[in-house]
Symmetry: C2
Subunit: 218 residues, 2 copies
Amino acid sequence: MKTPPPSPRSEVRRKANRGHYDRAQIHAIIDAAFLCHIAFNDAGSTHCLPTACWRDDDFLYIHGANNSRLTHALLTGECAVCISHLDGLVLARSAFHHSMNYRSVVIYGRFGAVDEVAAKAAAMHAFLEHVSPGRNRHVRPANAAELAGTRILRLPLNEAAAKIRNWGVEDSPEDMAIPVWAGVIPLSLRPGQPEPEAGCADHPLPELANALRLKDSP
Amino acid sequence: MKTPPPSPRSEVRRKANRGHYDRAQIHAIIDAAFLCHIAFNDAGSTHCLPTACWRDDDFLYIHGANNSRLTHALLTGECAVCISHLDGLVLARSAFHHSMNYRSVVIYGRFGAVDEVAAKAAAMHAFLEHVSPGRNRHVRPANAAELAGTRILRLPLNEAAAKIRNWGVEDSPEDMAIPVWAGVIPLSLRPGQPEPEAGCADHPLPELANALRLKDSP
């Protein structure tokens, strides 16, 4: 139920295809995400927390409440951030050769603070644009108190690496005649039926990022 | 673009609704997942890696290659594991009050090894059953060499906590008249068109776990 045991063919494919360090590839994987997972140490313990994220230029951005313990830990120590997308279930003819298709990025480094007011406002603008392109034109922007209560942190992407598996089944030759459906079931995050607030149903539906087209909803 | 600033109402709701420590709730969040993110330390650095996971009784299981650096690090040190599901985008009338609906679990502890052959075979059986119920009856089970090359680890769930946000928009009263669509766009992982291997299209499609019904595919 993992990648195949080493063989000349699979070894080459794994090395060639699973490690990607190209910047455009890394950016694309980050841009397709709404959430990242942050691994960090605080007071001698290791933690793993999910949080919303977005990218601008060659930085990963997150936000949090001002003066939080998380913020302090991230600004004072090294961390690792992982973004991953589960793209499919790879169903093989043998139990062992089942696998999953995915794209993931791991970033190492230390977050820095974005504290200048205009830079914070620009970052929050970029965050909302990432979630729903164009929506900034229609909603009330963050005011001074809201910006003051929010901490923006960013992590440079210079120590980032991607891994991708995006191919089919790799069964052993002796298993090929087993009479069972084998193949890939693609998986993707998709929108359901929008749930408008009272009084909002007549306004135009929002645009969504990441190809989450609402016309695809059930 | 976060939870609202403290107010009597939202403070109570956050405290009451975001922290869940009920075992059934934690199990349900884990059982809905195919992937977890593991935060751990190795040689002085913090790492965050995605890997496949499943639950049996009150343990989270993962697997990996035998004698890997990851396995060694997990067996010799404490870690934190996070499972999260992004359930929706919460689109408010003000930029600041945008949020996301989610379910997440964080588990703290140290992995132990499952090394006895029958226990390993049972764990791999449970893993495939988690991905595709009933599929074990149709595929070739793992043989001795495959089991020997796989390490099974499990983490007790006694130090696990869940967080959930599953409600609507929390705009301030003064923003309620802003003429923009506000509400929740539910998100869920859904299957696309199955991609059978050559010669497999006539076999019955697999069952999928986690309510990923193939009849819902586009």
